[in-house]
């Protein structure tokens, strides 16, 4: 008796099994490739979605010759940023208090505070008087913003619908169209982590400077940032290089110069510490 049979290549079943084995292998490889591609696409879509969520804008169609010059518009937008800083400083404090009262596990719709705590609203009204730009802008796209914007803006990120509106109108009125045309980008949809991340650009931008020869090249890079729990930058590395070392270096330097950022909250601190934030220079 023989324990092992000598394989018979002319066995009638051999070809059958060989072919079957071949099919299975091909199927496996195909499966791997397809699933990989699908997962990759989903991931990309997710990534793009994140970007869009934070970059909201409204399209403003031209119905008459623009009355504001380019330079006026530029000054206008910088004026808004200053006004917002003042507002944010006060309003954010309020919002933080509210969050502390809410159970920490709850998804922090910071804005559960209803508009009837009208302090923020009054503050915004005061700001409105300070800057008369809103009245100037009213003619442009006011209707659209009101119809689309009010519901979302009422539960705006900082409980401040006015500033959200200003942002929307201004983004639409800038040099070119915004980066996204979706109306669902209002601040109310952001998670606490995204809300935190969306505050970083305002802090980094003052340090983000380029000499003219780099300015004209339309370069683009992304910097991945790891933060400590107290908001300090633990690491900042180039995630997508622009191809120009000086450009990359200036982007990283801008992040480091802007540090420390606001302290992390517990519910999302882990993500920021894991380097889940990408800063796009410029996008």
């Amino acid at each position: 008796m023989r324990v092992f049979e000598i394989p018979k290549f002319n066995h009638p079943a051999f070809n059958f099994y060989l072919r079957r084995s071949g099919y299975i292998h091909i199927a496996l490889v195909a499966c791997t490739l397809i699933s990989g591609k699908v997962a990759f696409d989903i991931q990309r879509a997710q990534q793009e979605k994140n970007l869009e969520l934070i970059q909201a804008s409204v399209r403003v169609d031209m119905v008459a010759m623009p009355t504001q010059t380019l330079n006026e518009l530029k000054n206008l937008s910088s004026g808004v940023e200053e006004a917002q800083k003042e507002e944010k400083a006060e309003i954010v404090k309020e919002a933080e208090k509210v969050v502390e009262k809410v159970e920490p596990k709850e998804e922090p719709k910071v804005v559960d505070k209803t508009p009837d705590t009208s302090e923020a609203f009054q503050e915004a009204q005061a700001a409105k008087k300070r800057k008369d730009f809103l009245s100037k802008l009213k003619t442009i796209g006011n209707k659209k913003v009101e119809s689309e914007g009010t519901q979302k803006a009422e539960k705006g990120l900082y409980g401040d619908k006015e500033s959200a509106l200003k942002n929307l109108v201004l983004s639409g009125n800038k040099l070119s169209k915004g980066t996204a045309m979706y109306g669902d980008g209002a601040a109310g949809d952001l998670t606490a982590f995204q809300a935190y991340a969306s505050r970083l650009p305002d802090l980094v931008r003052p340090h983000w400077k380029l000499p003219s020869f780099l300015m004209d090249k339309n370069l683009k890079c992304r910097v991945r940032v790891w933060l400590n729990s107290n908001g300090e930058v633990a690491r900042a590395v180039v995630y997508q290089s622009s191809g120009d070392t000086e450009y990359d270096q200036r982007a990283v330097d801008a992040v480091k110069a802007a540090a420390p950022f606001p302290a992390l909250k517990e519910e999302f601190g882990k993500r920021a510490q894991n380097g889940d934030i990408l800063l796009g220079f410029p996008l």
Binding site: M62, L70, S212, G280
Partner: protein, 446 residues
Amino acid sequence: MKSLLVIFTLMFQVAVFAQDDNLTIVAVGEATLEKDKMVIQDAYTGGGLSAAQKNAASELVKLMRNDFSFYQKKFFLVEAAPNNTAFRQTTNYDYWNSKGVRYLGTATVDKAAGDNMKVTVVFEDIKNKKQIYNNSMTTTIAGIRRVGHEMANAVYKHVVGKNSIFTSKIVFVSDRNTRGRKTVKEIYMMDFDGKNVNQITNHGGIVMSPSMSSDGRYLVYSLISNAKGKRNNDLYLMDMRTKSASILSNREGVNSGAVFLSGGKKIALTLTVSGNAEIYEMDVDSKELRKITNHFSADVDPSITADGTLMTFLSDRPGKAMIYTMDPRGTESNVKRISFVGQFNATPRFSPDGKEIVFSSWLDNSFDLFRISSDGQGLSRLTKDFGSNEDPSYSNDGEFIAFTSQRVLSRVKIDQNIYIMDRDGGILGAITAGFGNCISPRWYNF
């Protein structure tokens, strides 16, 4: 078992991608510009120079400072303390670095044979501690402006990587020769900074809409003669070398608004010979005509990109003067309306790269300048509350726009001068003054 394996593979794949890319991207936005501080020191003058030559030396430094100050977005000119030595010393990089200076320029003027001067210009990159430009040229007092502009351009080109406007010229029309009741307008040419003005035509009539070939060899313009008899708007061609002018087209009606196509062998012009203004292409040598537009509405004022593939013009097809683009190589080919607003739009002009069109439009009782990209997107206003602004022309590098601005001084007196602004509407100032009413600036570099 097999299906398990497949599922496992699939999950493994997803896990790998998810782990890598679950990042939140936030956009920081456009950077602000970091201007480079530049110091150009007073000229060092060697012995034996005449008073006039010393004057020219200080003119040279002034000119270079003025040149760079046009690029306000790139350079920030800082005034230099007077030199405390008679000769150029080796540069103390640490000292200048501590002052935040990025570029340091020095000029030395020495006596050379005869009336000549030897001009040495040195520019240093303080941050990188190296010389970026060191050149000497021999010139006379008359030639020192040209030398200064050329040297400044070489430095600019080294720093920025492309040519500046420093060697460019502006052709324009002025009525300063008007005597009595008959208006006389002639063509003049000057450096971009308003200096070195030369009269080019001398017809004693009304000359208008000049255009030069890109090599500066030929000038084409229209003339309404003041001579008695029939007054027609005829098209002339002038050879800039011989300064001799000849009639290109004297058809009935308007022969005007001509611009050279690249190559300098053909022009595009507006003729009303068919009873209706149309844009034609004309061969300068054979004078053969070809219709570019063919429409019952008036089409005027062509401007064509450097590569000759796109033309912008003014048409009243919609009932109002609106801006259109088309392919000038065909007839009525690819006609596309660009502007949809404005009461009256005029003089569309391409930027050198053909991506933008600047034009004037009637708004709030005066003309103001606007910019639009050549696909019809991004309409933006450039001038406001600055008189009535017309006739824009991009500089050779596309960074600046020359235009005429008109002020009403009194009921009977107006004042019209040529101004320069950057392409975003930041006004740099007038470059003509007291030279009659200056109109139709055209910016060239050849």
